[in-house]
Structures are given as C-alpha cells and as structure tokens.
C-alpha cells in the first residue's frame, strides 16, 4: 500500500531535508516519491511538522524493579482511573499497556529500558512484550556481578572478558551494556555505605574505575554500537559533580555514555552546601567529544525512584514519601524503590534548574539526550511540558517566577537565552538516539527507513502540540490520530546477537552448577517463552 503524507514541514536533519514537502510510505518503509502512480491513501499534513518517530534512550518501563515499584505503590494509579473505559486496560495507570499508548500519543516509537538485570531477562522481556505499539530495547547490567569482578581480580584476558560480555548480551537479548555505580552494590553487601570512582570493592580488590574501564573497552572491542552506559558513583550527593567530572575524564578517547547527568550536577556552594555545577559539567561535556550524556530532568510532583543503585537507594530510604520502600540485594545489582515528591522548595528547584542548564549549556544536540530518567526525575508523561521549557524562554521565566529566589541565585538558568529549535529537537530525540544505539533504520525520513513517523499540528502551545500528535505511524501502520490511539499492534524488542564463545559457555555452565547449585538452563529461555510472533528484532554489531 502506498501512503502519502502531503504538504507538511519536513524536519529530517540526517538527510538534510527541511521544509515543505510530501513524504511517501510503501507498506512499512519510507520510499522516494514514486515517478508515477497515485497514493492509496493521503494524509493532509498542511500546517504540521513531520519528523521521524522519537526514540527514548533511557526510560525504566519494565522489569523486576519497575514492577516492584508498581506493587509498592498501588495508590500511584488512582489519578488515572476516572476516565471512561473504551479500550482494553485503558485505565490501568502505570501499566505496560498504558506505557505503549502514552508514548505513542507523543510520537515516540522506540524506547530503551536501560537497566535489565541479566537474571531477570525473561521477566523483563515478558513485560516489554506486553507494551503495545512501540519497539523496545534493553541494556543488560554488568559490573557488580561476582563472575566479572572475579575475572578482573584474577587478571583475566580481555578476550575472556569480551566473551562473557558477549554471552550476557546474547543470552539476555540486550542492545547494549550498562554499569550502575560500578562495584558499589557488591561492596554494599559487605556493609560499605559510600563508594567513589577510586574506591575498591572488598574481597575483590578491584576499583570502580577499573570496572568501568574494563567494560568500556570490552563493549567497544565487541562492536556493540551503543557505548558503555554509565550510571556514575555518588548519585544525588552534594559534590557529585566531582565524580561526574572524573568519570568524563576517564573516557580517555573511547566512547562513553553518562546517564542522567542532572543527578550529578551538584556543587557544595551556598549556605546549604548544595549548588549548581551544571555550567562546569556542560563545559566538560562540550570539550570531550567522545562523551554523550542524557539529562534525567526533574519535574515537580509525585514520582517514585527506581534504581539498581542499591547503595544509593538504601541511603535515600529516609526521604521516602509516602513512607515505604523496597531494597533488594540481587545476584548482581539488585535495586531499590523509593517513592519521592519533588517540591518547589530549595532542593527541588535546584535540581529542576540544573537539568535545564545542562540541556541549554551543552552545545551539541547530537551528544545530549532528552530524558527524565522515567520515573526517577519525573514520569515520561512530563515530556510535553519539558519540550516547552526547552523551546521557550518565556515558559521558563514564567516558571521561575514561582520558585524560591534563594535557589535560582545559585543557578545560571535565568541568564540563559537559548531556545531549542524543531531541528535541534529532531536531532536530540530522533537522529542522535538512532546513531547512539546503532539503529540505522530509524531516526530519519530517508528512503529505506522504517516508516516510524510523527506528525504534529503547529500551534503556539508547544506542550499540547508535542503531547498529542496529529498522526503517528509505526512501521507504516497509522496508530495515532489527533492524539488518540486508533490501532493496536505489537512492536519488537531490538537486540544484538553476538555468537557466544563455546569455552566461555562451558565455564558458565560449571560456574552456575558449582556456585548456585543450578544448571544454566534455569536462566536461559527460548524466544517461544515470550509467546508472541517475532518478539525480537536483530541489530548488527559493528565490524
């Protein structure tokens, strides 16, 4: 079937296509305008902007910890429940079903769950498979697991480490690798309560830095397109900007991605010894081309923090609101769930301002990624409001007027004039994520790309415009019209599939038998366990 999206303002930075024109789709792919022949269907996009479907590189949408957060907080859903039920599970609040629908309505067509515990890979993929419409992907967590730490301690060859990383990525069906407070979860099990880049995990004698550098090298050498995704040490603490700066410096020319930099943008100035270090970090990022970051923007209101940084979550237990939390010591990282409310007080305001400063002071939209670290900084449903803050200085000024002056005085935000353009938004939320993840088939509107397309009707209210797409196409299917879901379908989980080394496989069989008393079969699963047609889509490693 031939589809024409007619007369929209096309914004496709990858192919240098900017301006009024038509976009053609044949079945599930974007095609060049046909020389002859008429469209089977035409959508009028006059007065609209047309972009590729958006890609979220870091949003906690499924898996053990996310589900535990749902379990801990049944009251979180109450607010979603009052609308009439016209579609299956449509009022289910923060469910897998709603996750797919709400993302699609905003024009997002691919979302990465960045913290899959390898031992919970099947659980994670079952949840992701129940998220409709969009494509998904996961990053597998390594760096607190005994197998890796033991190999590093024992000076295993880089080849062996790569074999283990490849086996983990392949068996968990991941698209990349993440390390979360490297070594800290292992150290916490031995009663260590704070952990920095050059601290050493007891019993292993391995530093956090060594773990990060080892994994960074293995990921690069294996040709995993996405650089090692790093959640640094000391998240959330005053002075954590020093840790972030040290980690940026540790990239040393090889690609490295730092997650939710906002949570490390904290200096120790002012009488509360908590200030913005965003300008300093932005300058470092600007000067370090091998580093990419995402923000983890804070937006005001109730949310829940979900993190595999179990040491940090344990220390944040006291600030839980409502007063309950879950702390889990897992096989590798485990995790912690702590509900939290970002108020318009000094601290909440600082965090809000620091995120925006980073967005606006980092120059290159190819290296800064749009996230709230859902749900840690805010639920992803806050995205439209966040787009507005980035694209409108006036919206920021209006917001700042209602915030404590004591906090704004410690931030440079009020002095920043920059407003993101639609072209920069298209880079940050489409082109750059596709490049970062190695997904050549999306993030742009060139011929041959899959037809993941978001069409937004222009209006002054940016939040409304980008919050309710006029049309969204996923693989060529029209799934959203005028901000409402018109068609349900199942997406895929995108994964790498490096072939595992046989000797490593034998080692792992022995290891699981000896240490856990279980055959490796207990942890593996066939694709058929997901019980959907084609649950996975394969992405190539770089050669």
């Amino acid at each position: 079937m031939l589809t024409k999206i007619a007369g929209g303002d096309i914004i496709d930075p990858v192919n240098g296509r900017l301006g009024k024109g038509d976009l053609w789709i044949s079945d599930d792919k974007i095609v060049a305008a046909p020389a002859a022949g008429a469209a089977d269907r035409t959508f009028d996009a006059a007065g609209c902007i047309v972009m590729a479907g958006a890609i979220d590189i870091h949003s906690h949408i499924g898996g053990g910890n996310v589900n535990t957060a749902r379990l801990l907080l049944p009251e979180q859903h109450a607010a979603h429940q009052a609308r009439p039920a016209t579609t299956p599970l449509s009022n289910a609040g923060w469910s897998t079903f709603q996750t797919g629908c709400l993302y699609a309505k905003m024009g997002f067509t691919t979302v990465v769950e960045p913290a899959m515990s390898p031992g919970a890979a099947l659980h994670t993929h079952l949840e992701l498979a129940d998220i409709p419409i969009i494509d998904k992907a996961t990053l597998a967590i390594l760096g607190n697991d005994d197998f890796l730490l033991s190999m590093i301690r024992d000076d295993a060859s880089s080849q062996m480490i790569e074999d283990y990383v490849a086996w983990t990525v392949a068996s968990t069906r991941a698209l990349g690798v993440k390390v979360i407070n490297a070594g800290a979860a292992a150290a916490f099990k031995e009663n260590v309560r704070t952990f920095s880049l050059d601290d050493v995990v007891p019993s292993y004698g391995v530093s956090s830095r060594k773990i990060v550098k080892t994994l960074q090298a293995a990921v690069a050498s294996l040709g995993v397109p996405h650089p090692l995704h790093v959640h640094c040490n000391n998240l959330g603490s005053p002075g954590s900007a020093d840790t972030a700066a040290a980690t940026i410096a540790a990239a040393e020319g090889l690609p490295l991605h730092l997650a939710h930099l906002q949570f490390y943008g904290y200096g120790t100035e002012g009488k509360r010894r908590f200030s913005s270090a965003a300008a300093r970090l932005a300058e470092l990022v600007n000067a370090t081309p091998e580093v990419t970051i995402d923000i983890g923007q804070v937006m005001f209101g109730q949310t829940v923090t979900v993190s595999s940084d179990v040491m940090r979550q344990f220390s944040a237990r006291g600030s839980a609101q409502p007063k309950k939390s879950v702390i889990h010591d897992g096989d590798g990282n485990g995790g912690g769930i702590v509900p939290y409310r970002y108020g318009k007080d000094f601290y909440g305001t600082m965090q809000w301002a620091i995120g925006l400063e980073l967005f606006l002071l980092i120059d290159d939209p190819w290296r800064v990624f749009f996230t709230t670290d859902h749900p840690n900084g805010a639920p992803f449903t806050a995205y439209p409001a966040l787009f507005e803050l980035l694209m409108s200085r006036e919206a920021r000024t209006e917001m700042m007027a209602g915030l404590p002056k004591s906090a704004m005085a410690l931030s440079t935000l009020a002095a920043v004039d920059r407003e993101y353009t639609f072209e920069e938004i298209a880079v940050m939320t489409r082109a750059a994520p596709a490049k970062l993840l190695g997904l050549t088939d999306r993030g742009h509107l060139g011929a041959g790309a899959i037809a993941d397309i978001a069409v937004y009707r222009r209006e002054d209210n940016i939040a409304k415009m980008l919050g309710q797409a006029a049309y969204v196409f996923k693989d060529g299917d029209l799934v959203v019209q005028d901000g409402e879901i018109t068609h349900y379908r199942w997406g895929k989980a995108l994964r790498l599939n490096p072939s595992p080394d046989k000797a490593m496989l034998r080692r792992l069989v022995d290891y699981h038998q000896q240490r856990y008393g279980l055959s490796l079969d207990w942890f593996n699963f066939p694709d058929s366990a997901i019980a959907r047609e084609q649950p996975f889509g394969e992405v190539a490693c770089r050669t």
């Binding site: 499924g62 589900n67 749902r70 379990l71 801990l72 907080l73 049944p74 859903h77 429940q81 009439p84 039920a85 579609t87 299956p88 599970l89 449509s90 009022n91 289910a92 609040g93 923060w94 469910s95 897998t96 079903f97 709603q98 031992g119 919970a120 099947l122 659980h123 079952l126 949840e127 129940d130 409709p132 005994d146 099990k189 031995e190 009663n191 019993s203 344990f314 309950k324 939390s325 879950v326 702390i327 889990h328 010591d329 897992g330 096989d331 485990g334 769930i337 068609h487 349900y488 240490r515 856990y516 008393g517 279980l518 207990w522 593996n524 699963f525 066939p526 058929s528 366990a529 019980a531």
Partner: protein, 363 residues
C-alpha cells in the same frame, strides 16, 4: 479421551468454550480464581477485563498477605542465589511450605562461598510445634521461641531483646542468636505469607531494618504459592495492580477486601466462578448455587460444574513460564511429558474469542 463437558455431557472443546463464554457474558458478577502459569494468568486477566470479572489466586489469603507487605510497608529482600552464596546466618521464620524445604536443605549442606566466614548457622523462629525442614548430617536449627507466644509476638520479643530492652518473656537461645548475629556478615531471614500473619511479616522487616543500621541483613521471600506470586507479578505489570483486582466498572480497581474472591463467593456476591487450575485438580465440593466453570487437568467432569474443560499442567504437558522461588524470578520450563492437553492460556483465549467485544487488543 474426552476433554470437555457441559454439565456431565461430553462435548467438543469449541462448544464448551462457547458455552462458558455465554455464561460469562450473561453473568452479573463473575469471579476468577487462578492457579496457573504466567501465560494462563495473562489470558485470564484479558478475559476478566472483557467480562468485568474480579480475580484472585486460589489460595488468595496467603498471597494477599505477601502482597500487603509490599503495598503497605515495603521490605528489604535478597535473591535466593545471594542467600546461598552469602548468608552466614539463616533464620527460618515460622513454618515454610514443603516446596521450600529442598532449598533449606541445600543451605544446610553448603557454605557461603562469598562470605569470609565459610560456615552457616541455622535458626528457627517459632514454637515447639513448628515443624522445621529436615536438615542433613543430623543438623538441627536452633529454636528461637517465646513460650506460647505466636510468631508476631516472638519476633517482637526478639527485636526488643536485640535492642537491649526488657521483655516479659525472654526468647529461648537468645544468647546464641545474639552471638551469631554479632559475628555475621550477612544474616538472611526466610519468610513466607503462608503461616505468617501480616503483622509478623512487618515485625520481621522491622528487625531487619534495625540490623541494617550498623551491618547488613535481609529477608528471602519464599512465596506461599509460586503460581500465586507469578500471577501477582503478571497482574501488576498488566493492570498496575496485584491480585484481588476487579473490572466491575470497566477499569481495573485493586481492593484486597472487596475483591477477595473467596469472600465474594461466601457472601453470595458472585454469581459465576471460573476456576483455573493448571496443576492437578483438588475436587472441591460445590456448596452453593453459583455456576462453576472449571479448567482443570481432569479426565471427568468436575462435579457440579456447568462447564469443565481439561487443560494441561504447566511445565508437564506443555512449555510454560512460571515463577521460580529458587531463582527469585520467572523461568521458562520445557514440557516434562508433553501431551495434547491444551494450556490454560489456549483455552482461556478460546473462551475470550467467543465473548463479543470491540476490544482490539488480544493478549
């Protein structure tokens, strides 16, 4: 072999499914009780949504106590693998289900390889009547009891004594326990909601929290029902809520009292009961006039059921995904003795296909 019945009359599965769908469609207040794998649960919840049913686990009370620990208070927990590799003190809290005894035996036979201590001491919180898992090499768990006191009160006394407070009745062998804890690197408390009242679970978490002020400790959740906990997890991701959720108003509502299916049946609120039991059926006497649809591994119609459809046992007759308390996560299991019997999920989807609905999203 017959696989479906309407009343006592043998029929085709297709026809039985259509009849079940008609009963569900005309029911005013249908309730489901589940004892099935993950895909059976997913299919059942999708059907519940279409027909406005409430659902619960077959042993709803115990699963609900475990769920309530999380929804009301939260918890500190540890993975079973870490327990095996790290726990130098293991404390069994109350009576554990038979299915967990093998793992406890394994803990008794092994030493923690990730602990400097290289040995494991085992305690049991309970009374003289508490039956403990049999340990090998003649080992016995050291009993921590408080006379006639129940588990909650014993845990409260244990916690108070650990904090150095006076208690009306001291806990037996407390000094041994205190000594073991003082030397321990990672004590782990094994708990379940089966024989443990909710308050005891909270008291236990209070003790674990106290211990974590200065050193490490955690709790290993050994669920009262593996299928029950698996269903609770799947329900939580699909609807946002655990079991005891109902679709009476068209959208999911979680209410552990109102949607207690056993209570709804006893109170006469429910008028149709869909019972899904992937494991071998325990024939239950039907004590009321409410219609019953039974999906069970059976070779004959379930007594009194309006519809009976035979299903296979998950992981025996067909491949399945189940919760495994041994790994603390979901696990894929191959069919141990593959048969023609359909899975619960297959039969439930067949029933759902006969329920008229505009619903566009098959699960």
């Amino acid at each position: 072999m017959a696989v479906a019945w309407i009343g006592n009359r043998e029929t085709l599965v297709e026809r039985a499914a259509a009849h079940a769908a008609a009963l569900l469609w005309s029911s005013r207040c249908p309730v489901f009780s589940l004892d099935t794998d993950i895909h059976g649960t997913r299919a059942a919840i999708a059907l519940a949504e279409r027909v406005g049913a409430a659902y619960d686990h077959a042993n709803g009370a115990a699963v609900s106590r475990e769920v309530a620990l999380f929804t009301d208070k939260g918890a500190m927990t540890v993975a079973p693998g870490e327990t095996r590799r790290r726990a130098d003190v293991v404390v069994i809290v109350g009576e554990l289900l038979q299915i967990h005894h093998e793992f406890v035996g394994e803990l008794a036979e092994t030493v923690p390889d990730l602990s400097a201590k290289n040995q494991r001491e085992i305690f049991l919180v309970g009374s003289n009547e508490t039956s403990a898992p049999r340990l090998s090499n003649g080992r016995t768990a050291t009993l921590l009891s408080c006379g006639e006191a129940g588990l909650g009160a014993t845990l409260a006394a244990l916690r108070a004594q650990w904090r150095g407070r006076q208690t009306s009745q001291p806990v037996s062998n407390f000094d041994d326990f205190a000594k073991a804890l003082a030397a321990a690197h990672f004590p782990v408390f094994l708990f379940s909601g089966d024989a443990t009242e909710g308050l005891a679970l909270e008291m236990l978490q209070g003790l674990i929290s106290d211990l974590n002020r200065k050193s490490r400790a955690s709790g290993l959740h050994l669920p009262a029902s593996e299928n029950g906990w698996g269903s609770a997890l799947a329900s939580t991701w699909m609807t946002g809520f655990p079991l005891r959720t109902g679709f009476a108003r068209g959208f999911p509502e979680f209410d552990p009292w109102r949607y207690d299916v056993a209570r709804m049946i006893a109170a006469g609120e429910a008028d149709l009961h869909l019972r899904i039991s992937s494991s071998t059926v325990q024939p239950q006497k039907k004590r009321n006039r409410m219609a019953l649809i039974a999906l069970a591994k059976t070779q004959q119609p379930v007594a009194g059921a309006a519809v009976t459809i035979a299903i296979g046992d998950a992981g025996v007759d067909h491949q399945a995904v189940v919760y495994s308390s041994r790994t603390g996560s979901l696990r894929s299991v191959e069919a141990r003795a593959a048969s023609e019997l359909p899975s619960a999920a297959t039969v439930i989807r067949l029933v759902a296909s006969h329920v008229s609905a505009e619903a566009a999203l098959p699960c």
